[in-house]
């Protein structure tokens, strides 16, 4: 049997807006994947959990404007440990001009306000 895709979902830094992250976590779980929901965490702790839990995807959520600093930090810490096969995705309030910068920094995909759950699930499951 094929192993289920494992996803860790975290709210990045101090941002406590939890709705988007919880809703996305539920949708991913309902699609048959395994979700570890972390709540608020800094990049170090997120990467540590991701490695311990042997996840395929890290889903980050932030609406507080810290994304340009903290999201690339998650990718950097992964690369530092030689990890390249964990996908890092980001959702939240992200100004459009920041998206190319985030992608250049190694964020696989950015899902802004109003993104379709279906699209997110397809992306995470690797069928998109």
């Amino acid at each position: 049997m094929k192993k289920a895709i494992r996803v860790v979902i975290a709210r990045l830094g101090m941002d406590a807006h939890w709705r988007g992250s919880v809703v996305v976590a539920r949708a991913i779980r309902d699609a048959g994947m395994e979700v570890i929901y972390l709540g608020n965490q800094m990049p170090e702790a997120i990467v540590e959990t991701a490695i311990q839990e042997d996840v395929n995807v890290i889903g980050l959520s932030t609406l507080s404007g810290n994304h340009l600093e903290l999201a690339p930090e998650v990718v950097r810490l992964l690369r530092e440990k030689g990890i390249r096969d964990i996908l890092v995705i980001l959702g939240g309030t992200i100004p459009p001009d920041d998206i190319p910068k985030l992608k250049a920094a190694g964020i696989a995909e950015v899902f802004g306000t109003g993104s379709s759950l279906e699209k997110i699930v397809r992306f995470v499951s690797g069928s998109d």
């Binding site: 101090m14 939890w18 539920r26 929901y37 800094m42 309030t93 109003g114 759950l117």
Partner: protein, 554 residues
């Protein structure tokens, strides 16, 4: 046959003879209640035959306040136009406040950055990337002096969206007034100080619920004696709603939290009428004007009964649900952002027709970033147009008496009462939050709603219906200058170098002792901030006594 029975009979006839041949939508549900509620194609006096005008609706300014908390409402005084704002540094925010006041804003509303809300000073290296991001950074009294530089605290009122560190901010505001020789009984404003909703909906709690509740009660008691015109708490449902809760949940959580605070003050042996008149509330609303108006009316009626019957309040002011309302940012879309201007107009109209005491119209760019000066101004102009051009303020509760509105007010009241009873049977609000029950109830509704939007069952114009062809949004966004933040961090370090550090240490020691005992902590916090003791120093001291709270898994 009574008149109502005759009307009901006639309506049946009308349905059979006149309506039946028509093609029309059969199953229409209420949109925002979160419960299954059918909306009829037409309402008549027969639908409100059990409503007693004098008992259930009555007159504004009198029990049960269905039509409004003040007798002449906006004819007497317009609502306070209170635009929520704050960003970067105290200097930048001060400039924005002066700008908004010059444009006719009639009260201030301060947004804080996350580190300040979570009890960290700007010079803490761990949180550097969050400084000044979602609001203004406040670390010491020096920042508060700058924030209100050139603004007369005796003339304007200020609302602070602050919770975990609310008592520290209150102390700083009082300290600034003291410095300027403004008598404490002259300063007015509000600290949000509603810690219970932080555990479930907003996240800026610092200690476990019990000591947090003590801090809240300390501030309420302190204001009652020392700063009588200040609202020491704004019991807030809006954050639940923005986090996905339904209208019924928002109202129920708000009132149950309010009851929890009231019980904790009464437990100190204080008479309910001594503090209840200063309690205020915060709700948000969406675009469905009728459901929102009915909701505001239902909540006022329920609260009046709760205060009179459960808490034996005698002073009518204790029974008034005075509400600061806001448009719900959650409704605003990323696609075609200009559409949000229209949505915000509808939301503002709903809040005003609902009888709010103060209103905040967010920026239409909320789905992108913090508002710019232009979008903040547009929000204010929206309110001014409603106030001066629409005629809405000319008569009290203009929608009252509509068969639909009165029927809906009754229905929403029933649903809120039912849900409150369900929650109370499961436990008190502290228990429900510790169990994660409130959180999972919100998540349930949020998930259902998101699915409805995704499937198109719930229409969002420009998003899941009537989309324009691919078009890149051109929108000017608020930008934070990194240099400004760097300077900010230096200035906090400077204050800490220049103050009398022995005095600060001494104040913190006294505060710790008070926290370990049962005394009111407010006077000790005030002494500490006056010595330029910082937010983080006070919070760290209190955490040593109170510990921290760990988020339950949901």
């Amino acid at each position: 046959m009574t008149k109502e029975t005759e009307i009901a009979k006639e309506k049946k006839r009308w349905e059979a003879e006149t309506l039946s041949g028509q093609s029309y939508k059969k199953n229409v549900k209420a949109m925002l209640t979160g419960v299954d509620l059918d909306v009829d194609v037409l309402y008549t006096p027969a639908d409100i035959k059990d409503t007693d005008y004098l008992e259930d609706i009555g007159f504004p300014g009198e029990f049960p306040f269905t039509r409004g908390v003040y007798p002449s409402m906006y004819r007497g005084r317009l609502w306070t136009m209170r635009q929520y704002s704050g960003f970067d540094t105290p200097e930048e925010s001060n400039a924005r406040y002066k700008y908004l006041l010059a444009q006719g804003n009639t009260g201030l509303s301060v947004a804080f950055d996350l580190p300040s809300q979570m009890g960290y000073d700007s010079d803490n290296e761990d949180i550097e990337e969050e400084v000044g991001k979602v609001g203004v950074a406040i670390s010491t009294l020096k920042d508060m002096e700058i924030l209100f530089d050139g603004i007369n605290l005796g003339e304007i009122t200020t609302s602070f969206t602050i919770n975990g560190i609310a008592s520290i901010i209150l102390a700083m505001y009082v300290a600034v007034a003291d410095e300027r020789g403004i008598p404490r009984e002259k300063i007015g404003g509000t600290i949000q100080n509603d810690i219970l909703k932080e555990y479930a909906a907003r996240g800026t709690y610092l200690y476990p619920p019990k000591p947090s509740l003590r801090l809240v009660a300390d501030a309420i008691e302190y204001c009652m004696n020392d700063v009588p015109k200040f609202n020491p708490i704004s019991i807030s449902g809006g954050h639940y709603r923005s986090g996905g809760a339904s209208m019924v949940q928002e109202a129920s959580f708000t009132m149950l939290n309010g009851m929890t605070y009231i019980e904790s003050i009464i437990a100190r042996g204080i008479d309910v009428d001594k503090f209840a008149p200063r309690l205020s509330y915060l709700l948000v609303n969406h675009c469905n004007i009728f459901e929102e108006v009915a909701r505001y009316r239902a909540v006022r009626r329920i609260w009046a009964h709760v205060m009179r019957d459960r808490f034996n309040a005698k002073d009518p002011r204790s029974m008034m649900f005075r509400v600061y309302s806001a448009g719900c940012g959650d409704v605003l879309t990323y696609a075609e952002p200009e559409n949000n201007i229209v949505r915000l107009t509808l939301m503002t109209l709903a809040g005003i027709l609902g009888g709010s005491q103060a209103y905040f119209t967010p920026g239409y760019d909320e789905a992108y970033a913090l508002p710019t000066e232009e979008t903040a101004l547009l929000g204010l102009r929206t309110q001014q147009i409603i106030a001066y051009e629409s005629g809405v303020p000319n008569t009290v509760d203009p929608l009252g008496g509509s068969y639909y509105i009165e029927w809906l007010t009754d229905k929403i009241e029933d649903e809120i009462l039912k849900y409150m009873k369900h929650l109370e049977e499961r436990g008190n609000m502290v228990e429900l939050v510790e169990q994660g029950y409130i959180q999972s109830e919100m998540a349930r509704i949020a998930f259902e709603k998101t699915k409805k939007k995704m499937s198109g069952e719930e229409v969002v114009v420009g998003v899941n219906k009537f989309q324009a062809s691919e078009k890149k949004e051109q929108i000017q966004l608020h930008q934070t200058d990194p240099e400004v933040i760097k300077k900010r961090i230096e200035s906090v370090k400077q204050v800490k170098k220049e103050r009398d550090n022995d005095k600060v240490a001494h104040c913190l020691k006294d505060l710790k002792k008070a926290a370990e005992g049962t005394e009111n902590m407010m006077p000790y916090i005030l002494e500490t901030v006056k010595a330029y003791g910082s937010v983080e120093e006070i919070v760290t001291t209190l955490k040593e006594v109170f510990g921290e709270f760990k988020e339950p898994l949901i």
